[in-house]
């Protein structure tokens, strides 16, 4: 009874560690084959369309509403202190430092990451990956690597669009709806937001999130149990693990970047 419990614990730990190890090995092989993948940008462009362009709608709409809500809530709080002019600062800093990279990565994990996991998992279940190997095509370089690179490129771009749309959404609410001074909105923002501290750190964050989300989504698909149940479970796990990783890493990166 007790031995069985310990054995169970040990087996689970080994399985988890093995998963982490295989994920890292996959990453090393991707990095080793990077140049060969870059030599054929056609595949990356295809994937950039699937994960980037097709995610634009949800990113733009969410960014707009997040910015609008931030401005509204910020105004309600700041107006009590007579600092309503600082609402632009609040919107811009919240979006650039946190919400832009994080919400984009979470939405991306749900919108694009899940479809990547399902796609690769299904390829495995229908034995497309093994037939590629049969034809001497490396599925890691032909299937996984272009999708991974597309994620790394797409997430920072999407996060930039998210933040910009959000800031204009905040402008719509605070200047158009509430009637604050537009010059104060931009002026206070420009004097408080620094390029190297806020904009650049946000971009670095979203690059890291792009790597993590793409990596987890593709690894889950690649390692999926080749049954319909296995693929569906891999998809769920992919989104959950990617979201948790993004939130955890966000804390670490914030602690490192903004002292």
């Amino acid at each position: 009874m007790i031995t069985a419990a310990f054995r169970n614990l040990g087996a689970r730990t080994l399985a988890a560690l093995g998963g982490v190890g295989r994920a890292h090995l996959l990453m090393f092989r991707l990095l080793a084959g990077l140049l060969r993948v870059l030599a054929q940008p056609r595949y990356i462009i295809q994937q950039l369309y699937a994960v980037g362009v097709l995610s634009l709608v949800i990113i733009v709409v969410s960014g707009l509403f997040v910015g609008m809500v931030l401005a509204l809530q910020g105004y309600y709080t700041l107006v009590d202190f007579g600092a309503a002019e600082s609402v632009g600062v609040l919107v811009a800093l919240s979006l650039l430092r946190e919400l832009g990279p994080v919400v984009t990565a979470l939405l991306f994990a749900g919108r694009a990451g899940s479809s990547l996991t399902a796609e690769v998992g299904l390829m495995k279940a229908t034995e497309q990956l093994s037939s590629m190997e049969m034809m001497a095509v490396d599925p890691e370089l032909r299937v996984i690597a272009p999708r991974f690179l597309a994620c790394v490129v797409a997430v920072p771009l999407l996060a930039g669009i998210f933040s910009l749309v959000g800031i204009y959404g905040g402008y719509l609410v605070s200047v158009g709806l509430i009637g604050l001074d537009g010059g104060a909105y931009w002026g206070n923002m420009q004097s408080a937001v620094s390029f190297s501290d806020d904009v650049l750190n946000g971009v670095i964050k979203s690059v890291v999130f792009g790597i993590v989300v793409g990596w987890i989504a593709l690894y889950k698909g690649y390692e999926a149990v080749p049954t319909s149940e296995g693929v569906s479970r891999a998809t769920t796990h992919g989104v959950v693990h990617a979201s948790l990783a993004v939130l955890g890493l966000d804390f670490l990166l914030t602690a490192l970047m903004f002292d």
Binding site: L56, G82, S163, I167, M189, F195
Partner: protein, 153 residues
């Protein structure tokens, strides 16, 4: 599946949008644009105490923004704070004997430098120094003076 050309077009639009967003964030939002399209000239002012003044704080005259604080450093000889003010070149007719004071906007607001015009015919130019300054109000010091004056009675 769409044709490769349409797909490439959309990817191109997407990448351009993303890069454009980052460019706009850099210029419009973080105020890098101020260095780009607004020529300015620098004057210095020495303060006994700058309080919580920070770089990039606004420089106002009659409540209108005329520039921003470029740098704050300690003058090793006089132990006073040397503040470099970047004044907008549009405002090139500020009397040379103007005074600079550090005020706080509102109860909780940020600190800013306020310029009060003097009467001189000469105008401030790049590299000039504003001699007449008024330091930031340090709350602890006022409280100290207040308590001290109470003790006199």
């Amino acid at each position: 599946m769409q044709s490769t050309r349409t797909m490439e077009l959309w990817v191109g639009v997407f990448v351009a949008l993303g890069l454009g967003a980052m460019f706009l964030l850099a210029l419009e939002v973080s105020g890098l644009a101020e260095f780009r399209d607004r020529p300015s000239y620098e004057v210095t002012a020495h303060f006994d105490n700058v309080g919580g003044l920070r770089e990039k704080a606004p420089v106002n005259m009659a409540g209108v923004r005329v520039g921003q604080v470029k740098a704050i450093e300690l003058d090793a000889q006089s132990y006073r704070a040397r503040v470099v003010l970047g004044l907008d070149s549009r405002f090139d007719r500020i009397p040379a004997d103007s005074t600079a004071a550090i005020y706080t906007s509102g109860l909780l607001g940020e600190q800013y430098v306020s310029l009060d015009p003097g009467w001189e015919e000469d105008y401030l130019a790049a590299g000039d120094q504003i001699t007449s300054t008024q330091s930031a109000v340090v709350l602890e010091r006022i409280l100290g003076q207040f308590l001290y004056s109470l003790g006199d009675d």
